[in-house]
Subunit: 249 residues, 2 copies
Amino acid sequence: MNLLNNIRVVLVEPIFGGNIGSVCRAMNNNGITDLAIVKPRSTTDWDDARKLSCNAKAQLEARKEFQSLEEAVADCTVVAGTSARTGFYRDTAYSPKEFAPLGLESAKDHKIALVFGREDKGLFNEELALCTHIIQIPSSELYTSLNLSHAVYLCCYEMFSTSGAFQPSEESADEAPTELRERMFDLWRDMMVETEFVHDQKLDHMMMGLRRIFNRGKLTVPDCKILMGLAKQSLWVADQWEKEKENRK
Amino acid sequence: MNLLNNIRVVLVEPIFGGNIGSVCRAMNNNGITDLAIVKPRSTTDWDDARKLSCNAKAQLEARKEFQSLEEAVADCTVVAGTSARTGFYRDTAYSPKEFAPLGLESAKDHKIALVFGREDKGLFNEELALCTHIIQIPSSELYTSLNLSHAVYLCCYEMFSTSGAFQPSEESADEAPTELRERMFDLWRDMMVETEFVHDQKLDHMMMGLRRIFNRGKLTVPDCKILMGLAKQSLWVADQWEKEKENRK
């Protein structure tokens, strides 16, 4: 079985067709074929894309297109977003080399995603929130902004070169895909609101904290079910409380 | 002393201006500034080069031009040529990662060169003969031909990341000590009981699940405070519910 077949490269709103083509070639050079584009732009120069994809035209033509990142990674367990910036939620970033064995471990049984943002603005916070891991590519402090295809190339290269020597270990419980994980986070958000733990303006900040805590390791399907059960129960209690108050009136 | 200042990137007869510009950016991203071009072509699109160099225009303008590879590397001790092909003289090739410490060792006291051939024909045998080392970039057997700037980027990246110039960002928040962590778990245990989520016999099992989830990464002090606040709030709601029930009697 080829682990590389389970790796999806996701480009979010890429601007330049040339970059998309170069990305296809970079993927092909490293035995990775699954390309998804989120919100493709009407202004993309697809002739440029075809030209720069060289011998990887099949990848380019076989790309999947989605209207949101959430849809593009719905079936993926590990979702690794790339970010040049440091800061809240980005403190615990992995280098591409550190990430490779973690990602390949999951790619043994599941689809995983490597997610790359716009050339000018990268990934937005709500997109990074969907990611289970953050990859930060080491670069000179004097100039940290990488060409999109260079970033994709390096990440694919590390996955490819690590995959050869890689012997994945057995994982007992099944990993949770994005779709299940997001349902869990939705319930936790509801719980925080209904128990009046946070007010609107602090909710997103608090959710980022929770995502960071839960995503430090791979959440399994049973883990998500525990966490969903717990949130549902608190929601139920909050609802009972409301009903009692109503009854008393 | 910065070892990276002693590394020269040499492009032999590059065809596309866009590639030269992308190479400048890739060098800049990795703190490498010395660019030499052997036999520049009259057909090169320098506007494209400038456009793709982005913030590395100074590198592009400061390039040195030579009429032969021999002149371009005359002052270098180690000269590493890149080649996609295997065969005569190429059998003892290094990967970029293997080469990095060897090259950097020489860069302590001397200029060294990383040499890249034409986009279509690579380096000729007489050019490879000038090289002290051959670097071969691992790639998929199905498609070994790399984009020129991708090859330069990877080699520069390995030199940069091996040189120690990069300081990975540290987790800023303080790690939680056992005492705080256990107070947090106690609150979560109380919450599960008071919200009637689990009964006695399942409580320990559920707590083990939660410990496993939370302990996958290092919990910080702020993480524990978020989790404690959340549990306290659910406990408060459960308490309010009890009081409402009492009031109704």
